[in-house]
Structures are given as structure tokens and as C-alpha cells.
Symmetry: C2
Subunit: 338 residues, 2 copies
């Protein structure tokens, strides 16, 4: 049963499970701190295709195929795919997944899409709308740079607050509750929050207020505090956004410094990899969830964690028109016990 928990959150009484997961990344990611956890590396930034955009679709195809293979089922057994990405009109997902022949529900929340797709799949599983769903998201450094900033050939210099879009895709298989799997027990859907940040090279600052809003709503709705969780993961706030989140949460009376971890700071080694304020993109959170968070839950290192992905809801058009950057964050609670 789905129960409303407080004003913004949902509780799944028979928590849907993540029964298989996979991650496929690019070269830089494969040399970062999480290198042991990724399932596959595609070293060529074109993935032997004709364009960066097709390469991004290839990441999604490989990730979903791997997740299905680990799961041990066929694509015909999957009722729905929830997927999204950062490309205009979400074409990385539609071109990647058209060959799978599975009913498709495109989701868009910028980098928060990695959490949004999982939440939707959990709601479908808990409500009997689906038996088995897949959640897939991706980002690609080269397709994102070309679309949102400058073509790589221009050699544009990055500001220190900028973040490096992760080249990667994560795929997850979500099913109705079964024992002995990591489960999604509750979720908080974010509101759009706009603190009037206009610097498109500082997404962390734009997204931190949305993260603080959703996190506060979850703690209040669930009557919990940060200490009730082994870790609180954010998707891609990076160095700048994480610090702002600590301040904002402090003002709200919550100290999350001790057990907060940001996927954007985990996936790259900022000292030795040229990634400015950290990683970003739908692939950042999704690949970290698949390569680190879920394996650590299965090993027993973590038992109860929060995963919250944040998204900057801008386009290059709105930025060029001088608009601010609205942001959003969606959160889910993950549990595991043997």
C-alpha cells in the first residue's frame, strides 16, 4: 500500500526492491575512486558511433542490457521503462531504448531524473501497475558540453565552480517486495525552488536550496533526523553546493555534515582529475548508486540510507535570456537487511 507520510512524502508499506543494477562509464570515470564498482567502461568517447549523442544512447543500451542480464530475465518480462537524460527532447533515452520494445515513460527532472525514475518505478510496483520496471538515466560529458556550453574544440576554460558532466549510465530493475534485496521504503517528491542564482557555471549553488527543501521535508514528514541514517547521499551538488547545503540545513536545525556524501565528490578524485567542483549529470548519481551505494548496502556496510538527486531546470535558452536557474530534488530511502 502507498501511504501518504506528511505533506510531501510517500511510504511504501511493502517496499519495492531493486533486484538488479548496472553502471557503464567513460574513461575518466573508470580512473576515479569508484573504478572497482563499475560494470563496464567504454573508453572511446564516441563509443565507436558517429556522434557523442549516439554514444550516450549506447551507454544506456549497454547499462540496461547488463542490468537485464544480471537480473536473469528478458526484456519481454519488463512492463515499463522510466528513463531520462539531459539532451534536448531527451533523445539519448528515446534513441537508446526504442529497440527494447518496452512501454516507455519519459521522465525529466534534469539530474534529479535518476531519483525520479526510481520513485516512479517504486510507485508502479507498490500499486500493482507493474510487476517489473526498469529505471535508466545517462549523461555524457561531450554531448552535454556541446549542448549546454561550447563545442569541445573551442577549448573553453572552466570556472572553479563548474562541474564535470559524468559520462555514464545507470540502469535498475525494480520489482514488488521480496526479502533480501535493497528496497525503496519511502520517497519525497521535490518542489521547484528558485533562489535567483543565475550563474550557469555554478549549478551546485543553484541546486543546494532545492536539496535543503526536500531534505527538510523528508525529515519532518518521516519524523527522523540525519543520525537515523548511515549516510545521506546527494546526486551532484559538488564542493560548492555541498557547503551551501550544510549552511542551509544548519539554519533549519539539521546537521548533516557527519554522514553526508555527494556522488559528485565521490566519483572523481578532484586532486588528480581536472573536474573543478566535482561531477554532475544524471549519470553521476545513477552510476554512484549502482557502483557504490547499492553494493555497500548488500555488503552490510550501510543498512539505511537516503539517496537524493538534484536537478537544475535551466536550458541554454533561458540562461541566454538572463533567467535564473530553478532547481528540484527528489529523495528516496533505501533499506537493506539480510
Amino acid at each position: 500500500m502507498i501511504k501518504r507520510m506528511g505533506k510531501y512524502s510517500l511510504k511504501f508499506t511493502e517496499a519495492p526492491i531493486i533486484s538488479a543494477f548496472s553502471s557503464v562509464v567513460g574513461k575518466l570515470e573508470s580512473r576515479g575512486p569508484l573504478k572497482e564498482g563499475f560494470d563496464k567502461v567504454i573508453y572511446d568517447c564516441h563509443a565507436l558511433k558517429d556522434s557523442f549523442e549516439e554514444a550516450e544512447s549506447t551507454l544506456q543500451q549497454e547499462a540496461l542490457s547488463l542490468a537485464l542480464s544480471k537480473w536473469g530475465g528478458n526484456k519481454e518480462d519488463v512492463d515499463f521503462i522510466f528513463a531520462g537524460d539531459l539532451l534536448n527532447q531527451c533523445t539519448a533515452s528515446s534513441f537508446a531504448l526504442k529497440g527494447f520494445n518496452i512501454p516507455f515513460l519519459g521522465q525529466y527532472g534534469a539530474c534529479s531524473t535518476s531519483a525520479q525514475t526510481l520513485i516512479m518505478a517504486a510507485i508502479f510496483a507498490q500499486s500493482n501497475a507493474s510487476s517489473v520496471s526498469a529505471a535508466v538515466t545517462s549523461s555524457h560529458f561531450c554531448s552535454a558540453e556541446r549542448q549546454f556550453r561550447f563545442p569541445l574544440e573551442y577549448g573553453a576554460v572552466k570556472t572553479p565552480t563548474a562541474q564535470r558532466t559524468v559520462t555514464g549510465s545507470g540502469a535498475f530493475i525494480i520489482e514488488k517486495n521480496k526479502p533480501h534485496y535493497p528496497s525503496i521504503s519511502s520517497a519525497t517528491i521535490g518542489k521547484i525552488v528558485d533562489f535567483s542564482v543565475k550563474d550557469a557555471n555554478n549549478m551546485g549553488a543553484a541546486m543546494a536550496p532545492a536539496a535543503a527543501d526536500t531534505l527538510e521535508n523528508f525529515f519532518k514528514d518521516s519524523n527522523t533526523t540525519p543520525k537515523d541514517f548511515d549516510a545521506v547521499f546527494t546526486g551532484d551538488l559538488g564542493e560548492v553546493g555541498s557547503k551551501i547545503l550544510y549552511e542551509l540545513m544548519g539554519e533549519k536545525g539539521f546537521d548533516i555534515r557527519e554522514n553526508h556524501k555527494d556522488c559528485g565528490l565521490m566519483i572523481f578524485d578532484r586532486k588528480n582529475q581536472d573536474v573543478q567542483a566535482g561531477g554532475s549529470g544524471c549519470g553521476c548519481g545513477a552510476c554512484t548508486l549502482s557502483a557504490h551505494i547499492l553494493p555497500k548496502l548488500l555488503k552490510g556496510t550501510y543498512k539505511r540510507v537516503l539517496y537524493m538527486a538534484t536537478g537544475a531546470l535551466l536550458s541554454s535558452t533561458t540562461s541566454a535570456q538572463g533567467q535564473s536557474i530553478p532547481a528540484i530534488a527528489h529523495l528516496l530511502e533505501l533499506n537493506y537487511s539480510k
Copy 2:
């Protein structure tokens, strides 16, 4: 309860209702055949804002405000908004709706988003994830032309197979079942279908195969035929796509000619308005649903109809790269009895 019906469809045993709805359109639409049904007309294509993109956001704001006002509740009473549009990164929706302060779930299925948002809201209502949700979609001729084709100032000539993007937004309030309201009793989620059409000026041809696929799946899953419905509405196939749909459905053994109606052919008068093969865009289906279909259900003219919106999942990048146009169609069944 949500019951799976066949392989691709869902049955809502306590059918969620559409308890209020509204449409806001531009000048050309206000002079078309459905002029009596629209709630508000914004004659200025800039809506007195600085850009076409902001004008599109204004359409959504006005539509949602009107729907809330007809419904008689406050925005604080709405649990979730499902919204989407055609602009890059769905910014018409995020900029429109940020001020409403309602948890937001961005949906993307190109022009099929009008059906997708309603289906998601129905699933949330039936599963107790929400008591009240809003579904909002929009499109704008000028923002779409600039983004997908050419800036209007170029005066580009249209091909006869092209369709005119509707300037308009439709908003809907969806609640748990109550008697005496139009209800959403079942839905079919579409697969991505790609028939290798590459002509970005002929979306009808690209989308018709997806429409035929979803419609066939619904008829088979529900064990119904076109004659079981007072009308079968498609979102925006236009003249070209509708004819292809008749052929494809004929090959599958279904004759839908008698009771098929296409919103793209209803919203404009093709003889006297320069709209080539008909209307298109998320706003086309949404405004026709609000201005014509739901009022006719309430009047008793229709009792049981299908509403299926189709989307072309391309971007200007994928078209420039010579890719084909994948498409998708989502369908819902609407019922009303006094």
C-alpha cells in the same frame, strides 16, 4: 485498485476523475472551430512578456490558475503536478510552475505528454499516492518554430505535410473517484515505434505507426473494438497521419474511420486558416480535450471515448544528424454517466 489488463494496459477499478479543466490559447486558435470552448485567449504572441518562451510559461500559469479556480480549491490542496512541454529541458513547465510551490514531476513524451501526464495523475490517484493532482501541458507556435525549425523572421515556407504548433495550454485536476464526473477508467502506455521516417516536416507520418501500435494494444488488451466507443480521438496526427493510421489499423483488422477524430484537424479550419496538414503540439490535444471532449462528455453527447496523444521523439540535433524520428502514443479511456 490498479489491475493489469493484457500486456500493455491498466484498468482502474475506482476510476479517477477529472474534476476541473481549462484551456488558454492564442489568437489563431481563438478564431478556429473550437473558439466557443476555450476559457481564455491571450492575443499577444509574447503575452506581454519579453520572450516567446516566457509567453508559453504564461499560458501554463493561466491554465492552471483557471483550473484551480473552477475546481474551487487552492494550490496548497494539490499534492503533485505532472507537467511537460516541447521546449529544450522542458523549461516552459518549470518556469511556469515554480511559483505554485507544488511537488513537481516533469514528464516528457513530446506531444504525447498531454496523455502521459493524465495517466500518471490517474495512477497516483488510484494508488493513494495522491488525493489531488494537476496535469498541465503547453506548446507555443513561436517558441516551437524558433527551436525546432527557423526563427519566424526568416519567413520560411512550410511544406504541405507540416503541421502548425498550437499556441495553448490545457490544465486538468485529477482526483480519486467520485460519482458524476468524467473518469479515466483505463490506459495503455505506448512503446517507442520507429518506422524510419526522416522527414521532420511530416510528423504525422512518423507518429501514425506509434498510434496504430498503441490503439491495437488497447483494443486487444481490453477486448473491445472501435464501435464500443462514441469517438476515438488522436492528439495531433493531422491530415497525413490520420490517413496513414486508417491504413495501418485496416491492416490490423480495425476500421476506425467512422468514429475517429483528430484534435489537429478539429482545432483549426484548414480551409480558411493557413495550417497545412493541421495542428500539433502538446497544447493541441490538451486544449481540444478541455474545450471539446470533456464538455461533450458532460453534456452527454459522448459517454465513452478514447483519447490518445502521439509524440515525435526527435530533436533538431538528431534530425540534423540524419536520424529517423521515433514516436510514441499513450492512450486513456474516458467515461461519463450522470
